[in-house]
């Protein structure tokens, strides 16, 4: 006997919505996240447009107006060489933003992929690489940066590669830990049982599930990298003078901090607003992606 099978489960219309769009809608509800995103955008615009819109040439020395307090002409005053601090603050982020944006992308790219691959492979390869990473992490990061930069010079590309490398191995840890959560899932097992190649499993099955954690981690690390770059400049290994840079500006003016605080105020304000913006945005992004700390998810 055969029986006609029943047509089952009537269709209900569901609004098609990609996860990306959903994240954006969640993000838009967060006041602090949008404020952070606004700060980041503002900084990008300033960095992009500053050569055109600065009120003074940041390199021009006004010998009559040395170490002048803030005035209508020089909003943030001038430094001891008579250069306009406001203009220098606006231009001072160009190199650091460029270096760190490329640096963090590089770090997340190689660190993320290596981490996912290690988490997927496991075994002795994982064991050996992770011990090397642990050893690298044990060395103070500034020291590693200083060694590489002093050996290879302070060219912007060298700095980008250096930051990309040193921040990459922290990304390995994060990506590997996130992957371990998914590698035992049935869809990975199912892909293996189908006979899929490792590359496909890493890129198509695991990466999309780890990407959100990597994004948030990348945003967090970006702000650390900015601080790192400024520290490097502060120590004199960053942007070569006379090009203005926030960290270097703070460094050379720190002796006169007590008498002329305005000379440090400009770069400090710019640096901190950018970092605050990144942190607010990263926090909101984590929540929008459902990686809230309160839910015990790794952020």
């Amino acid at each position: 006997m055969t029986v006609q099978t029943q047509v089952s489960e009537q269709k209900i219309v569901i609004k098609r919505q990609s996860p990306l769009l959903e994240t954006w809608q969640n993000l838009r509800r967060s006041w602090s996240g949008m404020f952070g995103l606004g700060l980041i955008t503002l900084h990008f615009l300033i960095a992009l447009l500053s050569p055109v819109i600065v009120p003074h040439d940041p390199l021009e020395m006004d010998s009559k107006n040395r170490s002048a307090p803030p005035s209508a002409e020089h909003w943030f005053g001038t430094d001891k060489l008579g250069r306009d601090v406001f203009s220098r603050s606006m231009v001072g982020g160009r190199v650091s933003i460029m270096v760190t944006v490329f640096g963090i992308s590089l770090a997340m790219f190689w660190g993320g992929l290596t981490g996912i691959l290690l988490g997927f492979l496991g075994g002795w390869v994982d064991e050996i690489v992770m011990r090397v990473v642990d050893a690298l992490l044990a060395i103070p990061w500034l020291l590693v940066l200083l060694i590489i930069v002093s050996a290879f010079g302070t060219d912007a590309w060298i700095q980008t590669l250096t930051f990309g490398f040193t921040y990459g191995y922290t990304a390995i840890r994060v990506a590997r830990a996130a992957t371990l959560d998914h590698v035992t899932d049935d869809y990975v097992l199912s892909a293996r049982a189908r006979g899929e190649r490792r590359r496909t499993i890493v890129l198509k099955e695991l990466l999309p599930n780890v990407l959100d954690i990597l994004l948030v981690d990348g945003a967090m690390n970006w702000s650390w990298m900015l601080l790192g770059f400024s520290s490097l400049s502060f120590l004199g290994f960053g942007v070569p003078p006379p090009t203005p840079d926030w960290g270097f500006m703070i460094a050379i003016n720190r002796e006169i901090l007590a008498t002329q605080p305005w000379s440090v105020f400009g770069p400090a304000l710019m640096l901190s607003t950018l970092i605050v913006g990144i942190n607010l945005f990263a926090d909101a992004l984590a929540k929008a992606l459902g990686l809230d700390r309160s839910q015990g998810a790794p952020v």
Binding site: I14, D185, D186, E196
Partner: protein, 682 residues
């Protein structure tokens, strides 16, 4: 007698993102008398857990009481202060959760946890509490209470953990127990033992129970009265016998008809459609799926009215018509058998397969330490082409291990596995792609086996790209739509993510992914156990239909024997990775039985309040198979010292049925003389 619990017109809901009120429970009215057991049954999302929690005065974060109230022993549960609630909860009303393993604190010995609960809920002195704790552990039938009390939760098995949770709940001798699916996830034998224990305890202590479950068999076993929930409403409230023998609500009828039964061969009828969001329809919530539907159902919501006698309540406009149709007769007619031809040649042959998770370390190799017995050992099976072989057994019986070895995910230690002319003993990485294509695997939980970040199109595209690289995009798209229509979804589903599909739809996509590869053999690992009953039948239907069309061979893992009865041609019963009995479905389900098969069949809970399970063997779990002798020796009710624990039992078969093999020391005629037919077909 006055009611212990009185729920009146209770509605609970929450406001969604756009500020709209979404109901979870709507106009619930329910009374529970002291000492009465009420079974609360419904499919996932019907609001049964919310109702259970509301009875204890809990609300989930964000939800609130829209109307009505819950009165427990004269207290309005939602009007009490937290301090007053503390005094009632645990003391007068206690909860036994689904997963006892998660609800016990992992770092404290179970004895101390029970003492804590005693001190909190009774006025007992600290010195007396310890002996009371031992008494409680004895009361829940744990062997050697003094030893168990010193253990940490992870050192106990799932069944033992659940018993500890029961001991904690009854420590304060509460008037009421709320049990939220306490046996879901336990083995059938363990489940039957726990249910028996619960019944005994409540009868002795006079405790009322609210038993929440999705499993009709369990509900039939424990309940005096059953409340059936659908889309946040109680649609029928009747005694267990009334509910299971002549249901008066069309939903109750449909649900009971969709359960596979041991006594009836074939696949039951599935219910079309899915439940709506509570309170979203102007009329009856069940109207879109109801066979009795008329004009009035779509416009006017039915009242919850008493019928026949005053104690039975039904929410339906047409209950008279529903009751008039004879349910038992109708039940028999809805089961249908799919005829399909099996080929004579074997498709898959396993010979003396041994699988072990144990990897000897260097030191062990040098010392030559004897290895522990293998997880799966001495398995010889052959599956004919186009046939369905079911692997049956409790958790830890090696069913999944065998299937994973066939799919190449686990290595076999020795023996041979052959598929037609190819060797299946090689790992999946080393198999030719075409062999991978021919053997596909479907998993238990579609939530886990479908990548949540892929659309249905991407999910189906993966096997297509892998196995048929010559196809271009349009051809692949055409194949996707074709297979989606084959599994009774349509092309529009291509663009959805798994999160936007219901459980049954997800499993269909998983089935489609396996069949788009055009396999010869499909390995099904508990494919229906994560699904609601009304959907389960439809998925079984689909599998049988696809098998008939493609002549596919299935190896089907299931712990639910009724599902096995519905779909399998032949059955292999496994215990601790050793075969106990092999035969056709009819042979397995009638005597002579292997003692283990008899135990399993006896413990099955059928959706009939008048039948009682036969508990033959203990439910003591075993962590490793015995080193020698019969695998089932430690639990076997027919154990013979000096024989069963020394010699591996021989395969025996009856003269007229060569294929029905039982591995036991006892002769078959002797076995069948002592056994009665457990499953009585009506």
């Amino acid at each position: 007698m006055s009611n212990l619990v009185e729920i009146k017109d209770l509605s609970i809901g929450y406001h969604n993102k756009s500020g709209k009120l979404i109901y979870v429970l709507k106009n619930i009215s329910l009374q529970i008398k002291p000492g009465e057991t009420v079974g609360l049954v419904g499919e996932s999302g019907s609001g049964k857990s919310t109702l259970g929690q509301a009875m204890m005065g809990y609300l989930r974060l964000g939800s609130k009481v829209i109307g009505g109230k819950v009165t427990f022993a004269g207290n309005d549960m939602f009007a009490l202060t937290p301090r007053q609630l503390e005094k009632i909860r645990g003391n007068k009303i206690a909860l036994i959760p689904q997963n006892a393993g998660k609800s016990l604190t992992p770092t404290i010995r179970v004895g101390r946890q029970i003492i804590e609960s005693i001190l909190l809920n009774t006025s007992m002195e600290k010195s007396a509490a310890k002996s009371r704790m031992i008494e409680l552990l004895g009361q829940v039938r744990l062997p050697h209470p003094e030893v168990i009390a010193e253990r940490y939760p992870h050192e106990l098995s799932g069944g033992q953990q659940q018993r500890v949770a029961v001991a904690m709940a009854i420590a304060g001798e509460p008037a009421m127990l709320v049990l939220d699916e306490p046996t879901t996830g336990l083995d059938v034998t363990t489940q039957a033992h726990i249910l028996k224990l619960l019944r005994e305890i409540v009868t002795k202590l006079g405790t009322a129970m609210m038993y929440i479950s999705h499993d009709m068999g369990v509900i039939a076993r424990v309940s005096d009265r059953v409340a059936l929930m659908y889309a946040g409403e109680i649609v029928e409230d009747a005694t267990a016998v009334e509910m299971f023998k002549s249901p008066a609500h069309p939903y109750a009828r449909g649900l009971l008809q969709s359960i596979p039964r041991l006594s009836l061969a074939g696949i039951p009828k599935s219910m079309p459609g899915q439940p709506p969001i509570p309170g979203s329809l102007p009329g009856c919530s069940f109207a879109p799926r109801c066979p009795f539907v008329t004009e009035v159902c779509h416009t006017t919501p039915p009242d919850f009215v008493p019928i026949q006698n005053q104690a039975r309540l039904v929410r339906c406009h047409h209950w008279e018509k529903v009751v008039a149709a004879d349910f038992t007769q109708e039940l028999k007619s809805v089961f249908h058998v799919f005829e399909h031809k099996t080929q004579d040649r074997p498709a898959i042959e396993l010979k003396d397969v041994e699988i072990s998770y144990h990897k000897p370390g260097l030191l062990e190799k040098l010392r030559n330490t004897p290895q522990p017995p293998a997880t799966v050992s001495d398995v010889t099976l052959s599956v004919r082409g186009g046939e369905t072989l079911a692997l049956v057994g409790e958790s830890g019986s090696g069913k999944s291990t065998i299937v994973r070895t066939i799919s190449g995910l686990l290595p076999a230690k020795s023996g041979s596995i052959k598929f037609l002319y190819s060797d299946l003993k090689v790992a999946v990485d080393e198999r030719p792609l075409d062999l991978c294509r021919q053997v596909q695997l479907i998993f238990q939980n579609p939530d886990a086996s479908l990548n949540p970040r892929h659309t249905v199109a991407e999910i189906l595209d993966q096997p297509l790209k892998l196995y048929f690289p010559q196809l271009n995009r349009d051809e692949r798209r055409a194949r996707q739509i074709e297979i989606l229509e084959r599994v009774r979804l349509d092309g529009r589903y291509r663009l959805r993510y798994p999160g936007q599909l219901s459980g049954g739809e997800k499993q269909r996509v998983a089935i489609a992914r396996a069949f788009v590869a055009m396999p010869e053999v499909v390995l099904c690992d508990e494919v229906t156990s994560a699904l609601d009953v009304s959907v389960q039948a439809a998925v079984l239907d689909l599998l049988a239909d696809l098998q008939r069309e493609h002549k596919t061979t299935y190896i089907f893992i299931a712990h639910d024997l009724a599902v096995v009865r519905a779909i399998a041609d032949r059955v292999a019963v496994l215990y601790q990775g050793r075969l106990c009995e092999v035969g056709t479905v009819d042979e397995i389900f009638s005597p002579p039985y292997h003692p283990y098969t008899e135990t399993l069949l006896g413990a099955v809970l059928v959706p009939d309040p008048e039948s009682e399970p036969k508990l033959l063997a203990s439910d003591t779990p075993e962590l490793a198979p015995p080193a020698q002798g019969c695998a089932f020796q430690r639990r076997c009710p027919k154990f013979m010292r000096g024989v069963c624990d020394i010699e591996t039992p021989p395969w025996r078969s009856l003269e007229d049925a060569e294929d029905h093999k039982i591995r036991c020391h006892i002769a078959l005629d002797e076995l069948s003389a002592k056994q009665s037919k457990i499953i009585v077909a009506d």
